[in-house]
Amino acid sequence: MAGLWGSQQITQIPELFRVVEDPFSGGKVVAVKALRPDYAILHVQEADEFGNARISGPDYQDILLTRASNKTILTTEKIVSTDSLKKDLKSVTIPHFLVAAVVELPGGAKPCTCFDLYDTVDPAGMKAYQAAVKGGTVQEYMANAVDNAVKGGA
């Protein structure tokens, strides 16, 4: 990776970066360790019951994570029919064979945003989270948030 030259990361983080000989030119290159997660965990807008999924709006590094990981776990705003996904095949960027689990969880990204469905961060949810971490009541926050989401009111 050429972009690392000049960065102190090369010497400070040997867990991730090593300088090696380029077998083609004989010069030096920075090698970056490949990370292979056991699971990618993603929240998506649509998935079918087999794990074929469509992300609307920005996909960030989510598609890459599914390819790097051994398996993917999806939470989805909605479980949709395979036929409805077939209407726009190119947008179905996660194939079923990479996926181990599909959980229908409307509001599953809250208090974060989910493109086109809830587009602003929930300030009350964020402030409650921050207060819970500072106040040592984070387990209560998690329990409430999960219970509300599972009841369908995330």
């Binding site: 965990i41 809250k110 989910c114």
Partner: protein, 102 residues
Amino acid sequence: MQKKVMNLKDAAGLIKDGQFLGIGGNGLHRNPSVFCFELARRGLKDLKLVAAAQGLASDAICAADSVKEIYFGFFGFENEYGLAPGMRKGCQEGKIKPLEGP
């Protein structure tokens, strides 16, 4: 094709101590928040997390003392929400090893 629909608790039960997880989304956008809140309730140990820009979902697992290593380019909440408090606490107490990548 095989059906893979399951409930939240069964899906979270797939994750075991010491596993390495790639967390989707970016900052405070399209995080798998509720799934990670459920993970954070399970008393898991020694998880490793990776994402380019980790936010709330990752922070929740850190806040539950379930994480030993994080790989990231950025880790925080952005704008008025500031730093990620669970990650920060874990790093300051020496429980989480941060590895900043490109």
